[in-house]
């Protein structure tokens, strides 16, 4: 009986989709495709710590956490009372699998984060106080033991006693779609640089649409090359709602 030749590409894609997260031999959490060649190994290493800083720090942290939650992992947010949850959903974070924990205060902070590192894959934090080296060592050991990732979304990297494994910094950013009295915010390009320890000692740079005009996160051409929105002829006025 003739067996049709298997569609290898489709099978490989299927294999990627059904691959259980925990069985990933390289122990990586997925990141958006646009980030794959910006971060070492092309994903977030389980058990590592990540910090995002700069003018787009919150969006960067949400974008990095997103694909893991859509793939079935859980995410927890500690503190961050100002977090725009709608933006989180738009940047790919599944709110169905996100726990929001009120700011526990400096006393209970370490215990809270440690309990969450036990349970969920990604923990987003923004500590308002400086962490002692002991606390940080304990949390990092816990994250490494359970294979979860601790992400600091914005704030000062200096709160850490030792530098996180990965520091994602946003540089200059440029919004598209807004003119002098007309238009609306549509898309943003951000210069992103990724530095860190071990595999990330070489700083990598890139420009991202965060988000693009279609809402997706993609690679973009450098900022200077593109025309500014304000130089483009103004769009005809229309009723905005």
């Amino acid at each position: 009986m003739a067996v049709p030749a298997p569609d290898l590409a489709a099978l490989r894609q299927l294999g990627e989709r059904v691959r259980p997260l925990s069985a990933a031999s390289e122990r990586l959490l997925p990141v958006p495709p646009a980030f794959v060649d910006l971060v070492p190994l092309g994903g977030l290493v389980r058990g590592s710590t990540v910090a995002t800083t700069g003018g787009a720090a919150t969006s960067l942290a949400l974008a990095l956490a997103g694909p893991a939650t859509t793939a079935g992992a859980w995410c927890a947010v500690v503190g961050l009372a100002h977090l725009g949850l709608l933006a989180a959903a738009e940047l790919g974070v599944s709110l169905e699998r996100t726990l929001l924990v009120a700011d526990p205060g400096p006393q209970e902070w370490a215990a809270t984060v440690a309990a969450l590192l036990d349970a969920v894959e990604v923990v987003l934090v923004q500590p308002s106080h400086t962490l002692t080296p002991t606390t940080q060592r304990r949390l990092v050991a816990r994250a490494r033991d359970r294979g979860s990732v601790l992400v600091q979304a914005g704030g000062h990297v200096r709160v850490w006693a030792t530098q996180p494994d990965l520091v994602v910094t946003s540089g200059a950013s440029q919004w598209e779609g807004l003119g002098a009295g007309h238009g609306r915010l549509r898309a943003r390009r951000v210069e992103v640089s990724v530095a860190g320890r071990r595999a990330a000692t070489r700083t990598r740079h890139g420009v991202l649409w965060l988000p693009g005009s279609d809402g997706h996160i993609t690679r973009a051409e450098p900022l200077a090359a593109a025309p500014r929105a304000a130089d483009v002829a103004p769009a005809p006025l229309r009723d905005a709602g």
Binding site: A56, L100, T112, A115, A180
Partner: protein, 530 residues
């Protein structure tokens, strides 16, 4: 001898969540869960609001309606005095859901001189426990399902009790719509299919040969068919005596705080569950027994047709103890709890649960339950929330934080998806959404080129183009691009909540975008696109 259902009495308090939420029962009030109305007060029903309709549709019918988030824990706490008021009648009171309880009438009915006398007495006792502030309906029939329908029919007729004579239950059930099965078993797909097959009443369903129902619709279908025929959900012979699988532990030192007991209860529930699972059993009725240092005992049965999971069981323990430990002075225990036991009363063979292959239903990890319980005991029950998407115009209006105790994490939560709101909201701030939304807007100043504060007139005209943004404690920023005003006139029909404001988007020279609003001449920073 033909099989008949166990003669049962059901006490049903209609729209219990409304009563449990506290305020005056006469006000128009609805209780919502995942944006759907689950209970409505008399005034709200009079305004045309139906249970099951969308929150927004309800608010359109009756703009002044007060909306309260569903909280099963609150409902159960309020129901505990009702359940304990019947301890003098029978020890076998089973709470199926807060607002509804059932017990077998055989013994008590003989003692009080018949079903009618028993029903009247129970209605009187429960009304007394509620201080005559809420309607109480009592139904008696063969089988708990028929008794519940009898109680509901009593409510529609406006009488306190309805007793279906022994043997007349099939005739009583016959004209009921097939959808009434959903009160007891969760088979929405089955009801939908039967409805489309033209089987609109329980009589038509009961008329099908049971063997064919099993072949076509499986065990769920047979369960529904048995209910429709006026029988118990499971034949008496199929019930297994519960094996000696009591999970218990002594609390030393005694505990008087609910959150700490809940933590113990979670561990006990896990233990019980693991033992039952090892024997291939699932528990559908469990007795939760707590004893204080002074020897007071509070025992309550909980029933769940879908087999109680460890998380659901722990929740029930917490509700029960919440009601007891925070109840009125007379009923509150006089000492801390020193012993807690979970006793499986009725078990069935676990049929397992088929999980969806491509996502869909996913089994929540035990780790998450544990972390949530741990954090609730550390930070308080309300400290852990989950997000739900709402309709609204501003970014802060469109997502609500709901206490995790009020949702079932093991189920898919469509209300947390971006497409949960499918109605248009004219005038909403368009995507992309800001990543930072201030809980309290920050007062700022927006100046025009000449240094004067920009004023927006009542007709949405600007006194000048925004040129600088001044924030407290920061250097003034130059406005590189801006758009607006986008006027919003919200809740104009409600003097207390009427808001009239205009929103602007601005980008400063550093490329950082903000969402500003101006209301009554004052500029506010609402959110930042960072």
């Amino acid at each position: 001898m033909t099989e008949v259902g166990t003669r049962s009495l059901v006490v049903h308090c209609p729209d219990w969540p409304v009563f449990a939420s506290g305020p005056a029962p006469s006000a128009a009030l609805i209780v919502v869960r995942a944006n759907r109305v689950v209970a409505a007060s008399m005034a709200a029903r009079a305004a045309g609001i139906d249970v099951g309709s969308k929150r927004r549709a309800a608010q359109r019918r009756c703009p002044s309606v007060e909306v309260i988030e569903s909280d099963p824990g609150r409902d159960a706490r309020a129901f505990e005095p009702v359940a304990s008021s019947l301890d003098a009648v029978t020890p076998g009171v089973e709470v199926s859901v807060p607002g509804t309880l059932a017990f077998a009438t055989r013994g008590p009915s003989r003692y009080f001189g018949g079903d009618d006398q028993l029903a009247e007495r129970v209605a009187w006792m429960v009304s007394g426990a509620l201080g005559d502030r809420w309607p109480v309906r009592v139904g008696v029939a063969d089988g708990a399902f028929a008794a519940l329908l009898a109680a509901q029919r009593a409510h529609r007729r406006g009488v306190p009790t309805l007793v279906v004579p022994s043997g007349a239950t099939p005739a009583f059930l016959a004209p009921s719509p097939v959808g009434s099965l959903l009160e007891v078993v969760e088979v929405p797909d089955l009801v939908d299919v039967w409805g489309r097959l033209g089987l609109h009443t329980l009589e038509l369903v009961a008329g099908l040969p049971r063997g064919d129902v099993l072949a076509r619709f499986g065990p769920e279908g047979v369960a529904a068919h048995r209910l429709a025929s006026g029988l118990d959900l499971r034949p008496l012979a199929a019930r297994q005596p519960a094996p000696d699988l009591v999970a218990q532990c002594d609390l030393d030192p005694p505990v008087d705080r609910v959150d700490r007991v809940a933590f113990v209860a979670k561990a006990l529930a896990d233990e019980l569950h693991a033992r039952l699972a090892a024997d291939g059993l699932a528990c559908i009725q469990v007795l939760v027994e707590a004893r204080t240092e002074h020897g007071e005992v509070l025992a309550r049965r909980w029933r769940h047709e879908g087999a109680l999971t460890a998380g659901a069981l722990a929740d029930r323990v917490r509700w029960q103890l919440d009601g007891w430990l925070t109840g009125s002075r007379s009923s509150r225990p006089t000492a801390g709890l020193e012993h807690l036991a979970l006793i499986p009363v009725e078990v069935v063979a676990a049929r397992g649960r088929q999980l969806g292959f491509w996502g869909g239903e996913t089994l929540i990890d035990e780790r998450i339950w544990r972390a949530v319980a741990r954090l609730q005991s550390l930070l308080g029950v309300d400290a852990i929330t989950v997000a739900e998407v709402r309709g609204g115009r501003g970014p802060a209006d469109r997502v609500a934080r709901v206490p995790v105790a009020a949702v079932d994490l093991a189920e898919a939560r469509p209300a947390a998806r971006l497409d949960a709101v499918d109605e248009p909201w004219p005038g909403h701030v368009p995507a992309p959404a800001p990543a930072t939304v201030l809980a309290e807007p920050e007062a700022v100043q927006v100046l025009d080129g000449a240094g004067a504060v920009v004023v927006v007139s009542g007709r949405a005209e600007l006194s000048g183009a925004p040129a600088r943004l001044r924030r407290q404690g920061r250097a003034p920023a130059t406005v590189a691009a801006w758009a607006g005003p986008w006027p919003v006139d919200e809740r104009w029909w409600d003097p207390a909540h009427h808001r009239r404001r205009a929103r602007f988007q601005v980008v400063d020279a550093q490329g950082v975008a903000h969402l500003l609003s101006v209301e009554g001449g004052q500029w506010w920073l609402e959110a930042t696109y960072d």
